[in-house]
Symmetry: C2
Subunit: 201 residues, 2 copies
Amino acid sequence: MLPESLRRVIQLLSRLPGVGEKTAARFALQLMSDHQLSAGLGEELSTLSSRLRPCEDCGHLAEVPAAGKTLCSICMDPKRDGLKVCIVAKIQDLLAIERSGAMRGRYFVLGKLLSPLDGIGPEELPLDRLEKFLQKHLTEEVILATPPSVDGEATALFIARELESRGIRVSRIASGVPHGGDLEFADQITLGRAIEGRRLL
Amino acid sequence: MLPESLRRVIQLLSRLPGVGEKTAARFALQLMSDHQLSAGLGEELSTLSSRLRPCEDCGHLAEVPAAGKTLCSICMDPKRDGLKVCIVAKIQDLLAIERSGAMRGRYFVLGKLLSPLDGIGPEELPLDRLEKFLQKHLTEEVILATPPSVDGEATALFIARELESRGIRVSRIASGVPHGGDLEFADQITLGRAIEGRRLL
């Protein structure tokens, strides 16, 4: 019932995370009726993936420079210190922590988590790059901010063991009932962790 | 915290309906990591709005042909009859009705609804085009499928009056409790309409 070219756009849009065919159709119709938006987005997207690369130091996203090493804005910021390094699974997590304002050190993006079920073993983690990063910044503390899931915990534990012998303090972000959350509806594991991780007042 | 070119993409994506900055960022990061998707979408969107136009007959979307009149797939389908014409506010509504399979006639897309608050009066409705359409297809019944909102009802009533003198039967889609809906949570107006529009069994 829709023109072929619009169907192609809908099919592509429905590959975005959390977007089904109906939402994709809404997006497509909006793009269709807003020439400025579709032309602008078209131009940006055509060249997007060639202009961006992971930062060669930390794995965060970075604009590819005309010459030299590809570094992200955090790695290029001289006001940040690398004494504390926060290790995250993905860029979105880095952005979320950054928005919270609770971390003023540097970050390191793993890009993946250990996952025996998906066949992702330790050799796929960027451990060499991490080691170089920590040496370069004379890091004193590593904060493991992988998600509180099975894969995230396993990865945190694995990295903690790897760093054990190097005189670097390793910490793990707290897991418990979220701010504003209702204890009544919290799951057992979260409540268990909240009790276990209790702090003296 | 993000490269400039990615920020531009996020800003554009957040203009899609129902997409906030966080969702736009998720989309952008997905596009960023899927070269095939971003390049494909980029190419399609760059030319999208120049390749599509409203159908000159019914207002539905149509691919602009190399030569001749721009007509949509429904208007070009000889197996459809125009004895029954379903009038809808927007293309999405046409698609929804089409998916239901309940309407095998033709459609007419108004593109807008009467809305005194937004300053949209009868002169902005495509009445001339509608009249030509109904004459061309020797239409016997018009089904008003504008939404059951204040503007939708006003528009339906207005068109019904306009067509009154022309010997065309005018009907309005039923409004009531939706299939699978819970009466307990239905609003007063919906319940009122459900009672009012009751049918003998």
